[in-house]
Symmetry: C2
Subunit: 329 residues, 2 copies
């Protein structure tokens, strides 16, 4: 018999999440039945989407949603032998019972020297998000100028590097000088700290005087208003996230986007990574190849201890992480 | 020697246009040279785009931009014989000298019983705008629910009817009860007066409880915020115009569109009709065929007299027209 710890949503977030919105619980898990496996979390993910999804996908008392890399402790599904590693969407839990259908095996031949936590980042959902946003939504072509904000985050850092791999100019912004240094290290052509520039408009103009073909949008809000003005005709905006408005109690407002969209014939599209699930296997292999070749660098911001998950989540929402925010169980 | 009257932009509009922003001038025209023709305006168009384009395409003193159906009075271009009719983009002028390159001949075999002014409306730029917005931008499929605002206008009235021709449900809104009656006459499935409904949200829900696949946007502003909330997942928004903000001195603001776009994976795209110029010949024939078959009904709001062009233009911006606003010279 295994005792599992879980983090539940005690109270729906109002504004920025607080410690008291979370509750740590324990439960005894039964033995796995036929077709089930018992998992132990190794790495857990905290991601921006959890904030808006808490409103629509969860009720108070539910276990917090999320994915993890887990080790199989017991197995009644031959596809997932004891000792193997899987990615599971079972939420903020130290241990869980899942059916095989809920699991993805880790990419086969995962190299020894590459941390398995990358299956939650560069070679996982955030990496796929970057890839699909650029290729499927922005329809990025060689020579395009690509703008990405929250560029030192799990998704943004991959966006800029894929743009470079595909022959584009990558411009990134982030919220601290050390993040900006990291962007340059990763090969971004231009990078700046949006919190310290005197004018975002001027900074964007300086980084690309001719404007932007693609804008990978992670932030929303005021940033988007200024960036839209800098798009070239027929520019494409992939709306991947809008972290600046997730904690709004009353929605922030800004100028309507219509005139910008209309006269420059811009296309702005929201997307969720699951739309291209049928391509994931091939895409994950591609991401792993780039990692192994050194073309895709990564950093992780690791918080130790399952007990610290809320703190890691809130820190990520504040932008404390450079690279993917991970909790090591 | 012909004396031409022209309407010029005396002063850039500030807010809603005023009589004093326009100035009527006269000028003597020279004889047409080789390759040129002398035109006399028969019908002139007033369109919403003239308001925003005045800011970016005109300087004070310029002749107001716009298209007209004109008769060839003298010709030194054998493609446009004396007595034939053309569509010219020469602006608000009673007479003009143009080169053949600036002209489009009227569709050949134009039926006697169909007014030539339709070349400025249903079988012209506004008709093409409706067609391309639905087929190219919205990628409308049979069975889709299509929403259009300013639905009794030159473009909107064609949008709803093409939606019906292509097997879709058409929902339209307009700003008066007589316009709503006209929408029903044209075969819209649902139509309402957005000025008198107690709640736009409720009216949209009642017209299509399951939401909207396509939204042909002519208005922008607050309407768009409410309409976006009613889009189905993977909905498409074709931004054709935003007449509600054209006269803003300081831009109106509303909630950022990102959360709606993101979580429903909506696509919002601005477009200008000229993008599909290569398809115009075929498309105009299609529009004319529908008109002749009685599938595409039309109405025109005709103002008599070139002297009244500013009044016709301002009236159109206020929504005084049902169907295409035309000035008969």
């Amino acid at each position: 018999m295994v005792r599992a710890k879980t983090w539940t949503l005690r109270k729906h977030f109002e504004g920025f999440p607080q410690d008291s919105d979370f509750e740590l619980k324990e439960q005894e898990l039964p033995e796995p039945k036929d077709g089930e496996v018992l998992l132990e979390a190794v790495f857990l993910s905290v991601d921006p989407y959890m904030r808006p999804y808490s409103k629509v996908r969860m009720k108070e008392g539910d276990v917090m949603i999320g994915s993890q890399v887990a080790k199989v402790l017991e197995s009644k599904d031959p596809r997932f032998p004891v000792g193997s590693y899987v990615v599971s969407n079972c939420g903020w839990r130290t241990h869980s019972i899942c059916t095989g259908e809920q699991l993805e095996a880790l990419l086969s031949n995962w190299p020894e020297n590459i941390p398995k936590s990358l299956a939650l980042g560069t070679v996982g959902m955030p990496g796929l998000t970057a890839l699909y946003g650029l290729t499927e939504v922005c329809e990025m072509k060689p020579g395009d100028v690509v703008l990405v904000n929250a560029a030192a985050g799990a998704v943004g850092s991959v966006v800029g590097q894929i743009a470079k791999i595909k022959g584009c100019k990558a411009v990134g912004c982030a919220g601290s000088d050390s993040k900006v240094a990291y962007l340059k290290e990763m090969g971004f052509d231009e990078a700046f700290n949006y919190k310290t520039v005197s004018s975002l408009e001027e900074a964007l103009k300086k980084a690309s005087p001719e404007g932007y073909d693609c804008f990978f949008e992670n932030v929303g809000g005021q940033f988007s208003t200024v960036a839209l003005e800098q798009m070239k005709p027929f520019g494409r905006i992939a709306v991947c996230g809008c972290i600046s408005v997730y904690n709004d109690v009353t929605p922030q407002t800004g100028p309507y986007v219509h005139p910008q969209l209309l006269f420059k014939q811009l296309r702005m599209e929201g997307f969720l990574v699951y739309r291209w699930k049928h391509k994931n296997e091939e895409s994950l292999k591609q991401l792993m190849t780039w990692v192994k070749e050194g073309k895709l660098k990564y950093r992780e911001h690791i918080t130790a201890g399952f007990a610290n998950m809320p703190r890691a989540f809130m820190g990520m929402l504040k932008g404390e992480n450079t690279g993917k925010a991970i909790v090591k169980a």
